[in-house]
């Protein structure tokens, strides 16, 4: 059986989790509140752990071991969407990204619990439960700060408008969309985007934030094909700094 479509799906999910986990972990020790510091650290830990589990599935399909895959590829070999690689910037942007991405991610894993690829369905069942805490966290803060003060509302609104074109890039059409759907592995990016939109609309409608008309927004795509912003390679260089001192050494 040709696993190429499945592998492509697993790579983009694993890379998303790893790179956003990396960004989340940059908040460790820097959070605006101790509780937020811990929340972003926890989510980082979950995401990096989940990426490892996904790379392990790839390894079982014949790809290199997770450490080699994660720590030795260059930016053009990564399939994450560009949204996750953007620098953290201010807390408002981190929070908006967390909300937009994690909503999509939670729905994606929810859909994958029904995947015909059994190991993926089992893993998705597990991860779905963990992600409830991530979306609970995102929704709580968006609802709170999205209706709090003129400053918090305008900051979030600005970040939302900046992040949306990148967020639409999460759903970049895969080369193997048809094959994945036909094989019952994944219901497809379009189905996911529709569910996502309904979800974020329902949360944003409870706040003073305005969701712009998505039809007027040009999605920023390319990440899934290895096209990235200038921010990804420095992130990867940092991630592999120690590993590359001696890749044959055991650390």
């Amino acid at each position: 059986m040709d696993h190429t479509p499945l592998k492509e799906l697993l790579y983009k999910m694993a890379d998303d989790q790893l790179i956003l986990g990396h960004r989340n972990s940059e908040w460790t020790g820097m959070g605006p509140l101790l509780e937020e510091d811990i929340a972003f650290s926890s989510m980082a830990q979950d995401k990096v752990g989940q990426s490892l589990a996904l790379y392990t599935l790839l390894h079982e399909l014949g790809e290199s071991d997770p450490d080699t895959v994660a720590f030795t590829r260059n930016a053009n070999q990564f399939h994450n969407c560009q949204l996750v690689e953007l620098p953290n910037q201010e807390y408002d942007f981190s929070l908006i990204r967390h909300f937009l991405f994690d909503t999509a991610e939670a729905l994606r894993f929810e859909m994958l619990t029904r995947s015909s690829h059994q190991p993926l369905a089992q893993l998705a069942t597990k991860i779905r439960g963990e992600l409830r805490y991530h979306t609970l966290h995102a929704n709580t803060w968006i609802k709170q700060l999205g209706s709090a003060t003129p400053e918090s509302i305008s900051r979030l609104q600005k970040s939302l408008e900046y992040a949306l074109p990148f967020a639409l890039g999460i759903f970049e059409t895969s080369l193997y969309e048809k094959e994945l759907i036909a094989a019952g592995i994944f219901e497809g990016e379009q189905a996911l985007q529709q569910k996502w939109l309904a979800k974020i609309e329902s949360i944003l409608s409870q706040t003073s934030l305005q969701l712009p008309d998505l039809k007027l927004i040009q999605p920023i795509v390319g990440g899934r094909q290895g096209k990235h912003t200038e921010h990804l390679q420095p992130l990867l260089d940092e991630m592999s700094e120690v590993f590359k001192i001696d890749p044959t050494a055991e650390w």
Binding site: H22, S25, E26, I38, S42, A44, P66, F243, D246, A249
Partner: protein, 286 residues
């Protein structure tokens, strides 16, 4: 992690004279019997003040201490190390949170404590101000600074203030897991390539002096110290803690083939509770 070094300054003991003698006697009798003091119980002002100071400093050390190690999360070599380090640093921040809560039970709000930290009014353990130049520095902290902190925290967990002791019990259980992680990291460096060994030796050379200072200066037994020890706020002298650390960890460092940058350090015979033991120290009498 870093509940180390009794860095707090003394408060004048004069205030004890103004306390109600009956209540004070009952308070001291309770501590003598090994009872824990709880937030709603009567306590002398000096006791309250000194505990706030101590727990607050401990909490600050935990959250500032997350920084030198935290900068290595994004650079940790491989998934295994990365996930353990993330979990560990997050634990430390969580410990800060638990400790602030314990200090709050004595009446000082967390916001006030954080404000005092930011404007430089509160102290914290100095060791967390040192930079980590390489991965090996991070490993030194995870193993040995944590080990030093455990020595202090295990002692303080036997103290008299209930909320602090309960927080410390929890913290010590988690720290012992961190210690295993840190020890593993160092074992891998020790048994790795020459470059890896060199990295750790250099880290050891850099960190040994601050590690010794971590336990605080040699104690001058003042009236103040004597009161705090009677009230089970201070559970041992700085030198006792330092020696305990040396006894436990110097042999382990030697075992891995590293050189400690203190040529006077050697195995000596020392009397502990009437027994002659082979311990580590500076053989000053010889």
């Amino acid at each position: 992690m870093y509940g180390g070094g009794n860095t707090f300054e003394g408060i004048k003991t004069d205030s004890i004279a103004t306390e109600d003698p009956t209540k004070l006697a009952e308070f001291e009798a309770r501590i003598e019997r090994g009872e824990k003091i709880e937030p709603a119980d009567w306590m002398p002002q000096l006791y309250r003040k000194q505990l706030i100071r101590m727990i607050e400093q401990h909490a600050h050390s935990e959250i500032i201490g997350a920084l030198p190690e935290g900068t290595w999360i994004t650079r940790a070599p491989g998934f295994k190390r990365k996930m353990s380090l993330m979990a560990k640093v997050q634990d430390e921040v969580g410990h800060g949170q638990l400790l602030y809560s314990a200090a709050e039970t004595l009446g000082k709000p967390r916001e006030q404590m954080i404000e005092d930290l930011i404007n430089g009014k509160s102290k914290y353990s100095n060791i967390v101000n040192y930079p980590t130049f390489t991965w090996a520095d991070c490993c030194f902290i995870s193993w040995l600074v944590d080990a030093g902190a455990i020595v202090n925290q295990l002692a303080n967990a036997k103290g008299s203030y209930g909320p602090y002791c309960r927080a410390l019990d929890r913290i010590c259980a988690e720290e012992s897991f961190h210690l295993k992680y840190g020890h593993h990291c160092v074992i891998y460096l020790a048994s790795g390539t020459p470059k890896q060994r060199q990295m750790f030796q250099e880290a050891l050379n850099r960190w040994w002096p601050p590690m010794m200072h971590f336990f605080g200066p040699s104690d001058k037994i003042s009236a103040h110290t004597e009161v705090l020890m009677r009230w089970k706020v201070k559970m041992g002298t700085n030198d006792e803690m330092r020696n305990q650390f040396l006894d436990m960890y110097v042999p382990k460092i030697w075992e891995l083939g590293f050189t400690i940058p203190d040529p006077k350090l050697k195995r000596v015979k020392r009397q502990v509770s009437g027994n002659t033991l082979n311990l580590i120290g500076k053989n000053l009498s010889a």
